[in-house]
Amino acid sequence: MEMDLQIEVRRQKDVAVIILKGEVDAYTCARLREAMIEAIEDGGANLVVDMKNVEYIDSSGLGTLVGGLKRVSERQGTIAVVCTNPQIRKVFDITGLVKVFPIYGSEDDAVKALDTQGKTVVS
């Protein structure tokens, strides 16, 4: 089988950045969920999920992001998404999740926004 999702996690300031490459779907979303839980337990209340190199995302992937948001909300945190792929952006637009996850064009912009705004989504 091919490697369908690569995950790298690093920290920028107080923000955990999860960098994804490949496809986020029913086959791979469990690994993303684990990476998010690990990042949150390591003290990351604010997460950036970098999806610049994500080719496809399905509803499982979106569900995993919502699950992550639930966890960071418990710690007064939030999740920002980095997305430049129009097809991925379309998924967020069509579902309306673009209003739930702030979307940025670069990792630096997303980190900066979270770092300065802190929790921006759910009070």
């Binding site: 490697m3 399905d58 639930k70 739930v100």
Partner: protein, 480 residues
């Protein structure tokens, strides 16, 4: 019945435990495979060819705990809602369009957890169909009044957009013309997915298509060829026609040899064809080709997966299948051709497809504008040999498959042998097919449909989109 906070919490805990258990199993499997000195996962032992149970968005949203109520409200208010009504045959009715509709409905529902798509099922009066709960209204094929009743039902409902699945044979009247009564009565935005676009329609068939073009907001075809035919031969308004690919299951690629072991056919070269069987499939030519392939590959196995089309069985019984069985016996191929005369569940079907070395559609009708079975084979990343009917000609173009002449056992045999002789060439076709198939996975197609519904709504409101851009299929072409 409303859940108490305690019940909600309990359910949430159970759910979390289930998820945790799933994750734990995944981790344990990973550890075990690594302990056994395997790479990440040895496909020989780990691969089952099953599509994983999806952990969907709607599930996550619905399972938010009471203490997450703010988040739940926030997400509910933020997410887009759209009530779609599908008008079509629907399972358990056995037909490709019924399956298509259910797949589409489920794919769309996964992205719209706060909406509930419904179905107006089209059926014969004599059929007894235990439909699921999504079916809210029924049209009896030959009962003209039921078309009007269904339109009235939808007009009075909170449905935002109606998606009709169209094939001339589904609806009552001459060439299914009763569907026009229904469309003329509807006051909602309407999109029509066309499963047949005839190159040489009769006068009445042409009239029906042209009326559909006038009375509805969007016509969806699954390949660009279909769009061109609508413009050139029917004079349909080009801004109303969009291309959205046929969806395919989300299957991750696997080596055929791995899956063959699970099916105990590891020593065979496997060729397959699946779908509801009828005389238009041209399977007799494939069987004749097997006689030639067998000479070079005595271990070849041709799987014909699927039962006789119920509509065909009603008027000629199993005479076509019996004819094929006679041919198999005559050509001494009883150990080389296997029929699986029953309905296959999706996972089972996918397993057979993944075990296939070469998938074959020897169909006879040049005008065939869509084939769900060919779409599935692409989604599973198979090397494909096909006759050049319109759909195959387009989706297998650009090196995604091999096209052979109609009604030519020799041409089929030659192509099969070439592919079996050359694993590297086969691999090249598999990769190209898989790439195409990934882009047309149901989860991508559902997004294109949701986008299209929005455009249908805009058009009905008089805010006509300047151009409805052909979507999934066009993007496929554009990216290659």
């Amino acid at each position: 019945m409303a859940r108490t906070p305690r019940q909600a919490n309990l359910q949430s805990e159970i759910h979390n435990l289930q998820l945790g258990l799933k994750s734990s199993i995944t981790i344990i499997e990973g550890v075990m495979s690594r302990k056994n000195g395997q790479k990440d996962a040895d496909p020989a032992t780990a691969y089952t060819a099953d599509i994983p149970e999806e952990y969907v968005l709607s599930e996550e949203v619905r399972w938010l705990r009471t203490e997450d109520l703010n988040l739940f409200r926030y997400i509910r208010d933020a997410m887009n809602k759209i009530q779609v009504a599908f008008v079509s045959t629907y399972p358990p009715t056995e037909c490709g369009i019924a399956t298509f509709t259910k797949d589409l409905l489920m794919s769309i529902a996964k992205y719209t957890p706060f909406s509930r798509p419904i179905v107006v099922a089209v059926r014969g009066a004599e059929e007894i169909e235990p439909y699921d709960r999504s079916v809210k209204q029924q049209i009896y094929r030959n009962d003209r009044q039921s078309y009007l009743n269904a339109a009235d039902f939808l007009n009075a409902s909170d449905v935002d957009v109606v998606n009709i699945q169209h094939e001339y044979g589904i609806y009552g009247g001459e060439d299914g013309e009763y569907v026009l009564d229904f469309v003329a009565r509807l006051k909602k935005p309407v999109a029509v997915t066309l499963h047949t676009v005839l190159m040489e329609p009769s006068k009445n068939q042409k009239r029906i298509m042209q009326e559909l073009g006038k009375l509805t907001d969007v016509l969806v075809v699954m390949v660009r060829t279909g769009r061109q035919i609508l413009l050139d031969r029917y004079g349909i308004d080009p801004t109303k026609v969009t291309v959205i690919a046929h969806g395919v299951p989300n299957v991750h690629r696997a080596s055929a040899s791995v899956v063959k072991r699970a099916l105990a056919i590891q020593d065979r070269k496997v060729i397959s064809t699946f779908g509801l069987i009828n005389r238009g499939k041209g399977i007799e030519y494939a069987i004749e080709a097997m006689a030639e392939v067998k000479r070079k590959y005595p271990n070849v196995l041709y799987l014909v997966l699927g039962e006789t089309h119920p509509g065909v069985r009603a008027y000629e019984g199993e005479s076509y299948r019996n004819h094929l069985l006679d041919l198999v016996a005559k050509l001494d191929l009883t150990h080389h051709v296997r029929f699986n005369n029953r309905f296959l569940a999706l996972n089972e079907l996918v397993r057979y497809l993944c075990a296939t070395d070469v998938y074959l559609t020897p169909y006879l009708n040049k005008d065939q504008i869509v084939s769900g079975t060919l779409a599935y084979a692409l989604g599973c990343g198979r090397a494909i040999v096909s006759t050049p009917y319109l759909y195959a000609e387009e989706v297998l173009g650009d090196g995604r498959g091999v096209l052979v002449d109609f009604r030519s056992a020799d041409a089929i045999a030659k192509s099969l042998i070439e592919l079996l002789d050359n694993p590297q060439v086969r691999e090249k076709y598999e990769t190209a097919a898989y790439r195409y198939g990934r882009r047309t996975a149901w989860f991508n197609v559902a997004v294109d449909y949701l986008d299209m519904y929005r455009k249908a709504q805009l058009r009905r409101e008089g805010r006509t989109p300047t151009k409805i851009v052909p979507q999934a299929r066009e993007e496929v072409g554009a990216r290659e």
